[in-house]
């Protein structure tokens, strides 16, 4: 498969009070193939949104770089790439400008990118509004008249309007009712086929991910701890943190196996992450080595890599 997006050793740091630094994303490398859906999972605060924002061009990486369609993204290549990378946010209530009619909202990326005429943009908005399953008269109405699920559909239509190749979806379902979630999920699957899209699908919930994605990347405290094909990851997670995340997922028809219990405590602050393996303070398998040395990400097989000194299933 050909690479669509490459993330090369990206770190994102934020300055904090007292001259300290929040290490939100630390040396992450990943790639997304054309037509592929990559899930980015991890607890809240693990740096998923920050990485997603970097991919969407909303947050410049502190170090490292991005590649899109084989071209390194720089100040001069970003403007053209922006129409091909779009973003959908978590909160459908903050994602639409309350003072804009839906047709303008959907056509906005086209307007900003100066694509087409006012007439063709309106036609495109009408086309998309039907595709995402909203009535045509939605075009002339305002966001406050729609429910959360409908607004998320509008946000998806907006992301689709400039015919992107990659959509960063930052927890697009977690603010919705469960009954609505599957509808929006199905819509995302549907448009992926018709539009030949790749997704960077951010979620803190592995259960959602199971239905949609091809590969899963697990983030902990800003670091990539495991990346694997969906099937491999769900069948045999290699990182103790991934295991804990999987254990937290209630699944029908599957006994909840407990391997040494779920993880304890809370995620440490990214202001001063633990030494060595950042997970060692909560890991049931931790040894002295884990506190001393940072594990590198290494391939266990063609489809699975892990950053752990003592990965599961290797003993």
């Amino acid at each position: 498969m050909s690479e669509l997006l490459g993330i090369d050793d990206v770190s994102v740091h934020f300055p904090a009070a007292g001259g300290r630094v929040v290490r939100a994303v630390e040396q992450v490398s990943l790639s997304i193939a054309a037509g592929e859906t990559l899930a980015l999972v991890g607890e809240s605060g693990s740096g998923k949104s920050t990485l997603g924002f970097a991919v969407a061009g909303l947050q410049a990486p502190t170090s490292g770089g991005l590649r899109f369609e084989g071209v390194p993204l720089t100040a001069s290549t970003w403007p053209a790439a922006r129409r091909k990378i779009q973003i959908v946010f978590q909160d459908p209530f903050g994602a639409l400008d309350p003072r804009m009619p839906i047709s303008s909202i959907i056509a906005e990326p086209l307007l900003i990118q100066r694509i087409g005429t006012a007439e063709s943009r309106r036609a495109r908005a009408a086309e998309l509004v039907a595709q995402v399953g909203l009535p045509r008269d939605a075009l002339n109405r305002y966001p406050h008249e729609f429910s959360g699920g409908q607004r998320q559909r509008i946000a998806i239509a907006r992301a689709l309007s400039p015919a992107p190749r990659l959509i960063v979806a930052d927890e697009p379902l977690s603010a919705l009712d469960v009954s609505i979630q599957s509808q929006v999920l199905n819509l995302m699957k549907e448009v992926q086929e018709t539009h030949a899209l790749s997704y960077l699908f951010i979620s803190h919930d592995l259960a959602v991910v199971n239905h949609l994605v091809d590969r899963v990347a697990v983030l902990y405290l800003g670091r990539l701890v495991e990346v694997a094909d969906r099937a491999a990851l769900f069948a045999a997670p290699a990182h103790h943190y991934t295991r804990a995340l999987l254990d937290a997922v209630p699944r029908i028809g599957r006994r909840r196996a407990r391997h040494g219990g779920t993880i304890k405590g809370e995620m440490p602050s990214p202001l001063n992450p633990p030494s060595g393996c950042v997970f060692h303070t909560r890991c049931p398998r931790a040894e002295a080595l884990c506190g001393a040395e940072v594990p590198v990400l290494r391939a266990l097989s063609d489809v699975q890599s892990v950053a752990c000194h003592f990965p599961l299933g290797s003993e």
Binding site: F53, I85, D97, E108
Partner: protein
């Protein structure tokens, strides 16, 4: 936009309904309407009844009210009523113009500081803090005392009535923009982090596009309220400066400079001291209540007020 008119009206109908329930706000709107009609009545009075606001008549000094001159004559034998009307035009015009100019400065500074943040924000806000800290009136007096010829204006212009008018608009607006700047900055900071702004940024929207399309329309409400309250304050500034002799200069009347001589005349002709001040007072209080009413109407969470 006409096809969306029904929705647009929705918001404004709602606001109008809320505003209508605000008794003092409604009363103020009515009073302001009457005041505007009053100052505009100068035109028929001047052109149909032939009353000239500038012609002096030393035999008619302090004449009591008559059918021809309803409020009598002033110390130079001029019709008091028409001077009150024309003075009102000037005072209201200064109030609105200086508010607009200062308001635009404040909105620009506030949006820029809030949107770009960082060092620009730091510099602009330190500057604004510095301005807020100053005692405004003495500063305005110094600005009002500036000799325009030293700035390169011709002597003719410097002593003309137009110069007096524009000078006061300019000096008030360069001093009184800080409140709006702070308000707009705070509102911008909030809107800037909304996801719809982020989405537009991800598509490559320029800073100007962002401000014009997403930020300003969404902070219009506090701006409108703040502009209203500023009009009241500016009218007070104008009256004070003109009263002290640094604002609108005679023979052009303004409510402020009509009180110029009133202090010496307070014994002989107290009415001359009462009318202009009363008009300023009524105008400003109505404007302030109007601002209060707008605030109430635009803010769905606002408490019930009389």
């Amino acid at each position: 936009m006409s096809e969306f008119a029904d929705v647009a009206i929705g918001v404004w109908t709602l606001r109008w309904r809320r505003f209508r329930r605000h008794r003092t706000g409604m009363a103020s709107l009515f009073i302001l309407g009457v005041l505007v009609a009053f100052v505009l009545a100068a035109f028929p009075l001047q052109y149909f009844m032939g009353i000239d606001p500038d012609v002096t008549d030393l035999f008619a000094r302090f004449d009591p009210p008559s059918a021809q001159h309803l409020l009598g004559m002033d110390e130079a034998g001029r019709d008091v009523l028409i001077r009150l009307m024309i003075g009102g035009q000037i005072s209201l015009l200064v109030g609105v113009l200086a508010t607009l100019v200062g308001g635009i400065i404040g909105v620009l500074v506030g949006v820029a500081a809030g949107y770009f943040g960082g060092r620009l924000d730091g510099v602009l806000m330190r500057f604004t803090d510095g301005m807020i800290a100053l005692p405004l009136l003495p500063l305005l007096i110094v600005l009002g005392a500036i000799d325009l010829t030293k700035l390169g204006f011709s002597s003719d212009f410097a002593h003309s009535g137009a110069a007096g008018f524009w000078r006061i608009v300019v000096i008030i607006s360069i001093v009184d923009w800080t409140a709006i700047a702070r308000l707009v900055r705070a509102a911008t900071l909030q809107i800037r982090e909304r996801d719809y702004v982020r989405a537009a940024r991800a598509s490559g929207g320029s800073a100007l596009y962002m401000m014009g399309t997403h930020i300003l329309p969404n902070i219009a409400t506090p701006i409108i309220v703040s502009f209203t309250l500023t009009v009241g304050r500016v009218i007070l500034f104008e009256s004070v400066l003109s009263f002290l002799g640094f604002g609108v200069v005679p023979p052009t009347p303004s409510w402020g400079n009509m009180l110029n001589n009133a202090q010496e005349l307070v014994t002989t002709a107290p009415a001359l001291a009462v009318y202009p001040g009363l008009l300023i007072f009524v105008t400003v209080i109505a404007v302030n209540f109007l601002g209060d009413g707008l605030q109430h109407a635009f803010d769905p969470r606002s408490e019930r007020t009389p």
